[in-house]
């Protein structure tokens, strides 16, 4: 999918040399249509042997009973070792205690910020806690004036709020994903902090469809912080040249009290249950999971390795922008592992948007959200009930 689809063609000849008896056919899909395509393939019984799967889709495909369990193969494997992986990223492959995939590359969200603007506001280092972040945002607002902002939190993206919510101890869903837990203290705190960033004028109330070019705006100083993923390292390196070089940096997400957690994302490698070539597919997974292959993928695509040993390579170890990602990947949590997850976070985003616009109070918002989410999970509950009686 995406650039990986092209990069893998450069890597596969090496696999062919090691395993001349295995022929691999690659089919690339655009990210935008991949989930639909795979689901259609499942319905039509035309699933591939092995596939790259967005880590948040794993619960969905497990619910379909489409994926092969990999626990036994992992035990017997010499090269894939769970303890070498970032634990939060590894965890995205586990549903109800069973393993369904191996992390291929990692993704998460953290802060990108303008060092020069932050310095103007009087700070040399990025924030580590919400409190420090608030102080900086308030100071920035005083410096940049009413037309510019401290942080960009696009209202049509759920990631920033989801990250703030995952940093809390309270889970987003309770009773093994039977009910919403948005009324819990943790989510209230996250939503309050999120709303305050808008109501205090630190973040503009806009969607990213209203930003014509996020890098231009970042470069103009329309905002100092934004929350984004690893692909922006490459983009910003390319765009911030000459006198603007070195005027930006990455930082670990600030948490409620000290460095915070972020979202565990990225892509996993999975084997479909209907595959006729599971052993061969596993060999390919082992090959793609080698630290050396992960290094190569990083060089070709900029996708971050999921194994700690791959991060020792010079290209990554010496990159100051990637360093924050390495530290953040040690502190990531997967979102709730229910197939309805995407719909739930979309509802969360919609409610948060109404809170930001002042249409709902925090109390009204969390109650409405729990009500909606309980409705979305109704079918899941009805299907889970028999298990309880066993």
């Amino acid at each position: 999918m995406g650039r990986e689809g092209e990069a893998i063609r450069a890597i596969l000849p090496e696999f062919g040399r090691l395993h001349p008896d295995i022929a691999v056919r690659v089919q690339t899909l655009p990210w935008s249509g991949a989930r639909e395509k795979l689901l259609t393939a499942f319905v039509g019984d035309a699933t591939p042997d092995l596939c790259q799967l967005g880590s948040s889709w794993v619960p969905e495909f497990v619910a379909l009973n489409a994926l092969e369990r990999l626990d036994d193969r992992l035990l017997r494997s010499a090269s894939v070792r769970a303890e070498d992986y970032f634990p939060g990223i590894w965890d995205t492959n586990i549903v109800a205690g069973k393993l369904y995939g191996v992390p291929w590359y990692g993704d998460t969200r953290l802060l990108f910020y303008r060092t020069d603007l932050l310095l103007q506001a009087g700070f040399r280092t990025p924030p580590e806690s919400w409190e420090q972040w608030s102080t900086m945002l308030a100071a920035l607002k005083a410096v940049v004036g009413p037309e510019r902002y401290g942080v960009l939190l696009p209202l049509n993206e759920f990631d920033p709020l989801l990250v703030l919510a995952l940093q809390q101890r309270d889970p987003l869903l309770r009773d093994e994903g039977r009910f919403g837990n948005f009324r819990g203290r943790g989510f209230r705190l996250a939503l309050q902090f999120y709303r305050d960033m808008f109501s205090k004028g630190w973040a503009p109330t806009i969607a990213d469809t209203q930003i014509s070019n996020v890098w231009d705006e970042f470069s103009r100083g329309y905002f100092t912080f934004f929350v984004s993923g690893p692909w922006n390292i490459g983009e910003l390196k390319r765009r911030f040249t000459d006198e603007r070089k070195g005027k930006w940096m990455t930082a670990v997400m600030p948490g409620p009290d000290g460095p915070g957690f972020s979202l565990a994302g990225g892509s996993n490698l999975v084997i479909f249950r209907h595959s006729q070539h599971k052993d061969e597919a596993w060999k390919l997974i082992e090959f793609l999971s080698l630290p050396a292959t992960q290094e190569r993928i990083y060089e070709l695509t900029g996708n971050l390795p999921t194994r700690r040993s791959a991060w020792l390579m010079p290209a990554l170890a010496g990159d100051p922008y990637a360093e924050a990602f390495r530290r953040q990947l040690e502190r990531v949590k997967p979102p709730p592992k229910v197939p309805e997850f995407e719909r739930i976070v979309t509802e969360m985003r919609l409610v948060a948007e109404r809170v930001v616009h002042g249409d709902l109070s925090i109390d009204e918002a969390v109650n409405a959200l729990d009500h909606t989410v309980d409705g979305i999970l109704a079918k899941r509950r009805s299907m889970m009930a028999p298990q309880d009686t066993q």
Partner: protein
């Protein structure tokens, strides 16, 4: 062979294709709309439960659906007069004897209809941009306040309706031009001899003569705006505050994002009945739109 059987034999290929690829899926969708067919049903067909009219009942009780319906009606209410009005004016201007290069302008004004929607939608997103857009630049240079076109829930539908009207009016323009050309010139000559003013000529000859064309384009346009999907999908993704979620957008989300094919099919059928009702209304008022010399 009897005539009837022979006729069926000739029609059979078409009937089979339409039946297999159109009628059958529609009937299946009608069946699915009575179940809670969803993601779990793909895993195991046993997970499908028959819910009767439950999906419909739930739909009619959900504020989401009524908002989407209200949004769709707003699209229809704003887009139809804009499209037909602009089409009529453009057609009359092009049909006028005073206009130079009529075929050039006809081509230019028709061009938006055949351009790729996604591409022009992206261009319009720039035109409507709050800080750098052409529209707000014009407003400001006229001394007016800029409008947050796509960020303000009150303005997003008018902005998209304006875009859709710009994109679509060429079609009605073309129909109107054709209809205008069918009006015999001697009617105007007679009116002129009787001393009728241009306005009187327009009201007594042109407008009644164009009624059948208005009916045709009206029905097509209304049905088109009821099915509004790609425009909000590309420009606002349903936002801000769900203000541009149309009925079809809701159906897409239910079906292809959340895999709730049961409720998505129910939405589709509600939409179907509504469009059918409009077409029926057309037949009711069909006489008004008839025009004979």
């Amino acid at each position: 062979m009897k005539r009837g059987a022979l006729a069926w034999a000739f029609a059979a290929p078409a009937v089979l294709v339409i039946g297999g690829f159109f009628l059958l899926p529609v009937l299946m969708a009608a069946g699915v709309s009575l179940t809670d067919f969803d993601l779990y049903a793909f895993a195991d067909i046993q997970n499908v439960r028959f819910v009767g009219l439950g999906n419909y009942a739930h739909l009619l009780q959900s504020s989401e659906f009524w908002r989407a319906l209200a949004n769709s009606l707003l699209f229809v209410g704003m887009g139809t007069p804009l499209t037909l009005g602009a089409g009529l004016i453009a057609a009359l201007l092009i049909s006028s004897r005073l206009t130079i290069w009529p075929s050039f302008f006809r081509t230019v004004l028709f061009a938006p209809v055949v351009t790729t929607l996604v591409a022009v939608a992206l261009v319009w997103r720039y035109l409507l941009h709050t800080r750098y857009g052409l529209f707000n630049w014009l407003l400001i240079s006229m001394g007016l306040h800029p409008i947050d076109w796509l960020g303000d829930a009150r303005w997003a539908i008018p902005a998209i309706a304006l875009f859709a009207a710009w994109k679509n009016f060429g079609f009605s323009m073309l129909i109107f031009i054709a209809a205008r050309q069918n009006i015999p010139g001697h009617l105007y000559e007679a009116a002129w001899l009787d001393g009728a003013s241009p306005l009187q000529q327009f009201r007594s000859i042109t407008l009644p003569a164009l009624r059948p064309a208005v009916l045709l384009t009206g029905v097509v346009t209304v049905a088109g705006y009821f099915q509004m999907f790609a425009e909000p999908y590309v420009i606002t993704q349903g936002g801000p505050l769900q203000s541009t979620v149309s009925v079809v957008y809701l159906m897409y989300e239910q079906g292809f994002r959340w895999w709730n094919f049961g409720s998505a099919s129910a939405v589709a059928f509600v939409l179907f009945w509504m469009v059918l009702a409009i077409v029926t209304l057309r037949r009711r008022f069909g006489n008004y739109f008839r025009w004979t010399i």
